[in-house]
C-alpha cells in the first residue's frame, strides 16, 4: 500500500495504490495527516490504483471527510473501481462523498 500526496494549487491530490486493508491502514493514517490539517482546499482522493479497501480504510476516508468539513475543505473521490464502489454502496459512503 502506498500513499502519495501532491499539492497543486488549491488542490491536494492523494493517490492511493495497492490494498488498503486493516494492516495497511496503520501506516496510511499517518500518511494522510496533511490532508486532515489542510483548510479551504479541494482534496482529491485518487483511487485509480486502489485495489481494495476495508472498513479501516473507510474510516480514514471518513476522518478526512469530517476534518475537511470542519476546515472548509471539499473532498472528491476519483476513479474508484467496481469492487470499491460496491463497498461504498454497502456502507452508504456513496452519499457522503462526491465521486467522480
Amino acid at each position: 500500500m502506498k500513499t502519495e500526496i501532491v499539492a497543486s494549487g488549491n488542490q491536494l491530490i492523494a493517490k492511493f495504490s495497492g490494498r488498503l486493508d486493516t494492516a495497511a491502514a496503520v501506516q496510511t493514517i499517518e500518511d494522510v495527516k496533511p490532508l486532515l490539517e489542510a483548510s479551504n482546499k479541494e482534496i482529491i482522493l485518487d483511487c485509480s490504483a486502489l485495489e481494495y479497501i476495508s472498513s479501516s480504510g473507510l474510516r480514514i476516508f471518513l476522518s478526512i471527510r469530517k476534518e475537511a468539513s470542519a476546515h472548509g475543505s471539499k473532498v472528491i473521490v476519483r476513479h474508484i473501481n467496481n469492487d470499491i464502489r460496491q463497498v461504498f454502496m454497502m456502507t452508504g459512503f456513496v452519499s457522503l462523498f462526491v465521486i467522480e
Partner: protein, 664 residues
C-alpha cells in the same frame, strides 16, 4: 442372641417363681381349710366324749347310793357314743365296801349291737395310780390325757377324757373316764391327706406323736402348715414336700425349659444364617462397589485411548476430525482412532461384538494393533489382514469386530479404505448435494477367518469432502416404540448438516442431539460412536496481529472462489478476523484459525481461544447518517452482514467459533 436368650430365661424364671408362689398360697389355703375340717372332726369327737363323760358323771351323782345302777349308767353312756370306745367310772378306794377296795364300772361297745359291761377295778388294775384318775380327780373340768397304750381294753393307743363325780356334799368320789381310740381319728386323714403324697402329723401338747412323722419326709424340702386343737391342745401339721407340691409345675417348667432351649437353638440357627446371608450381601455390595469403581477407572483409561484433541491439527491444518464414543455400559467395545503420518491421515472406526469388559479389552487390543501396524504399513488391505491374523492369534473368546479403516493422502486427496463388515460411512461431498454411503466391499469382520484376504478400495477426496463414520449404535438406536433411528434418517440429517455448512464437530454433536431426541429417554442399548473426517483446504493459522491480515488474501486464492466474490469475501473475512484480533485477546497474544469449505457455497470458520466475544452482538453503523453524524466504528460487522448470507457465533469449549456462509 445372648440378650434374647437372657430375656427369655428371665421371663421364664419370673413365670416359674410366680407360679410357684401361687401354688404355695393355694396349698396353704387348701391346707388351712383341711386343717380346719380336721379340727372340727376331732372336736366333734372330743365334745361328744366330754358330753358323755359329763352326762355319766351326772347320772352317777344322782344314783350314787345304788352301785348296780352305775353299770346301767355306763351302758347308757356308751350307747350315746358312735365310736367303739370304752367308758368307765372309777371310785375312790373303799367307797363301796361291799364291792371291794377298787370299784371301776366299765362298759365297752364290742360290736354295733353289743355292749360289754363289767367291774375292772382290782389290785392289779389299780386305777388310782393312773394319770387319768389322778388328774380327773384334781380338775374341775374335763381333763384330756396324753395318748397311751390301753393295755386293759382295745390294746390300741387311746386318749382319755376324765371328769370328776361328786357326792351330795361336793366331795369328789369318782372319776369318769372315756377313752378315745386313736383309730377312730383315722378318718380325719381324709382331710389331712391334702395331696396324694403329702403327710400329716398330730402331736400332743407335750410333743408326743399321736400320728408320727413318716421317715420318708427326712432329707426333703417341705412345706408345713399347722393348726392347734383348742380342746386337746394337739398340734396338727400338714407336711407337703416341695417335690409333691411343685411336681406339676416342675414338669411344666422342665417342658418349658426344653422348649425354650429348642426355640433358642432354632433362633440361634436363624440368626447365624441371617448373619451369614447379611455378610454375603455386604461382601457382594462391597465387591460391586469395587467393581463399579474399577469400571469407572477402566472407562477413564479407555476414553483416554481415544484421541481427544481434535483437529484441525495446528501442524495438519488440512484435516478436521471429530469423534465421539458413548458406551452403553461403563466400558464399551466401540472405538475410533486417527493420526497423521507422512502427510497421511490414518483413521478407523470399529465395533467389537458384545459389550462390557471383554469387548473393551478387544477394543484396546484393536486400537494398539491399528497404531502398530499402520506405523509401517500403508496398504489398507494389508493392514486389515495383519490385524485380522493378530486378533485370530490372541482371540480365545471368539470375539470378532467390524472395522472401517481409511487413509487419506493429504497432499493428493487419494483416499484408500478397507471395510471389514462395518457400516458403510456416509460421504458429504462438496461436489454432490446428495449425501451417499461410500461403496464398500463385503469383507468379513476381523477375528473370524484366519488369513482372510481383505480387499482395499480407492476413492478420491476433494478438499472440503467429509466422511461420516459411525457404528450401528447410531442407526440401530431405538426409541420406546422399538423403532430404529435408521440409515435413511441418518442420511437425511446429514444432508441437512451439509446444507447448513456444519463442521465435523457440529455434525457429530447435531447427530447426537437428533439421536437423543429420537430415543426420547429410552435406555441406550448399544455403544454409539461417530467420527467425522474432513479433508479440507489447509486452514490458515494466524497470530492476533493486524499485520497478518494480508495473508488472508493469499490464502483465499487456494480456495478457488469465483472472481466476482473474491473481493467481498476477502473483505468480510478481513473484517471478521480483524475484529477477533482486536477484541478476543486483550493485551495478550493468541491464535486465530480460519477454515474454508467450498461447495455450492463457501463456509468460513474462524476460531480462537480468546475471551468470549460475539461480534454478531456488536452495534452496526447507521449508514443513512450524514458524514458529520457518522461514528467511526461499526462498519466492519455491518460489512460482514452485508456480504455474507449467514453469520453465526458459537462459544464452544473455551473457543469462539464464528461461521460465515455465502452462496456461490
Amino acid at each position: 442372641m445372648i440378650v434374647a436368650a437372657g430375656v427369655l430365661a428371665a421371663i421364664s424364671c419370673v413365670q416359674y417363681f410366680t407360679a410357684r408362689n401361687g401354688i404355695r398360697i393355694e396349698a396353704e389355703l387348701r391346707a388351712k381349710t383341711e386343717l380346719r375340717k380336721a379340727e372340727l372332726e376331732i372336736e366333734l369327737h372330743t365334745v361328744e366324749m366330754e358330753t358323755a363323760a359329763k352326762t355319766l358323771a351326772r347320772l352317777v351323782e344322782k344314783h350314787i347310793d345304788i352301785p348296780d345302777s352305775i353299770y346301767a349308767a355306763t351302758r347308757l353312756a356308751v350307747g350315746t357314743l358312735r365310736t367303739k370306745t370304752s367308758l368307765a367310772v372309777a371310785f375312790v378306794p373303799d367307797y363301796f365296801p361291799k364291792h371291794g377296795r377298787y370299784f371301776e364300772a366299765c362298759s365297752s361297745r364290742i360290736t354295733e349291737d353289743s355292749i360289754y359291761t363289767r367291774q375292772i377295778g382290782s389290785a392289779e388294775h389299780d386305777y388310782t395310780q393312773m394319770e387319768w384318775f389322778q388328774n380327773g380327780f384334781k380338775h374341775d373340768s374335763c381333763w384330756w390325757s396324753e395318748p397311751y397304750l390301753d393295755d386293759s381294753g382295745s390294746q390300741t393307743f387311746v386318749v382319755s377324757c376324765s371328769y370328776p363325780v361328786r357326792d351330795s356334799k361336793g366331795e369328789v368320789v369318782a372319776v369318769v373316764c372315756v377313752d378315745l381310740s386313736l383309730d377312730d381319728l383315722k378318718n380325719i386323714s381324709d382331710y389331712l391327706q391334702v395331696y396324694p403324697n403329702s403327710y400329716y402329723t398330730i402331736r400332743s401338747s407335750t410333743g408326743l406323736e399321736i400320728v408320727p412323722m413318716p421317715d420318708t419326709v427326712a432329707g426333703q424340702k417341705y412345706n408345713i402348715f399347722q393348726e392347734e386343737i383348742d380342746a386337746t391342745g394337739w398340734h396338727i401339721e400338714i407336711i407337703i414336700p416341695d417335690e409333691v407340691l411343685f411336681r406339676d409345675l416342675n414338669h411344666i417348667g422342665r417342658l418349658v425349659g426344653v422348649l425354650m432351649i429348642i426355640g433358642l437353638l432354632i433362633l440361634a440357627l436363624i440368626i447365624a444364617y441371617s448373619v451369614r446371608t447379611t455378610q454375603k450381601m455386604l461382601d457382594f455390595a462391597e465387591k460391586n462397589q469395587r467393581i463399579a469403581g474399577e469400571l469407572e477407572v477402566a472407562k477413564t483409561i479407555q476414553m483416554a485411548m481415544l484421541p481427544k484433541v481434535f483437529p484441525p491439527f495446528l501442524d495438519r491444518p488440512d484435516v478436521n476430525v471429530y469423534g465421539l464414543v458413548e458406551p452403553a455400559k461403563e466400558v464399551g467395545g466401540d472405538l475410533y482412532d486417527f493420526y497423521v503420518r507422512h502427510d497421511k491421515l490414518f483413521f478407523c472406526v470399529g465395533d467389537v461384538s458384545g459389550k462390557g469388559v471383554p469387548a473393551a479389552l478387544v477394543m484396546a487390543m484393536t486400537r494398539s494393533l491399528f497404531r502398530s501396524i499402520t506405523a509401517h504399513e500403508e496398504n489398507v488391505g494389508a493392514v486389515m489382514r495383519k490385524m485380522n491374523n493378530a486378533l485370530m492369534d490372541q482371540n480365545a473368546q471368539n470375539m470378532f469386530l467390524t472395522l472401517f479403516l481409511g487413509v487419506i493422502d493429504c497432499k493428493t486427496g487419494q483416499f484408500d479404505y478397507c471395510n471389514a463388515g462395518h457400516n458403510a460411512p456416509a460421504m458429504l461431498r462438496t461436489q454432490n448435494t446428495k449425501v451417499e454411503l461410500l461403496p464398500v466391499l463385503p469383507n468379513l469382520p476381523l477375528g473370524i477367518e484366519p488369513d482372510y484376504d481383505y480387499q482395499g478400495q480407492h476413492a478420491h477426496a476433494d478438499r472440503g469432502d467429509l466422511l461420516f463414520l459411525y457404528t450401528d449404535g447410531l442407526t440401530e438406536a431405538e426409541n420406546g416404540r422399538h423403532e430404529q433411528f435408521g440409515e435413511e434418517r441418518m442420511l437425511k440429517e446429514l444432508t441437512e448438516c451439509r446444507e447448513r455448512g456444519l463442521a465435523p464437530r457440529e455434525i457429530v454433536q447435531t447427530m447426537q442431539q437428533h439421536v437423543e431426541q429420537f430415543v426420547n429417554g429410552a435406555q441406550q442399548s448399544d455403544d454409539l460412536t461417530m467420527l467425522a473426517v474432513r479433508y479440507q483446504v489447509p486452514a490458515l493459522v494466524m497470530r492476533n496481529d493486524i499485520q497478518q491480515i494480508p495473508t488472508l488474501a493469499e490464502w483465499m486464492e487456494e480456495i478457488g472462489l469465483p472472481e466476482e466474490l473474491n473481493m467481498p469475501l476477502n473483505l468480510a473475512l478481513e473484517e471478521a478476523v480483524s475484529n477477533v484480533m482486536l477484541y478476543a485477546y486483550p493485551g495478550q497474544s493468541g491464535q486465530v484459525l480460519v477454515e474454508a469449505v467450498k461447495s455450492e457455497k463457501v463456509v468460513f470458520t474462524i476460531s480462537d481461544s480468546g475471551i468470549p466475544f460475539d461480534p454478531t452482538q456488536k452495534a452496526e453503523a447507521d449508514t443513512t447518517l450524514s458524514a458529520e453524524e457518522r461514528e467511526i466504528g461499526g462498519l466492519g460487522i455491518h460489512l460482514v452482514r452485508q456480504i455474507m448470507d449467514e453469520v453465526r457465533y458459537e462459544r464452544y469449549e473455551n473457543k469462539n467459533v464464528l461461521t460465515l456462509i455465502k452462496k456461490i
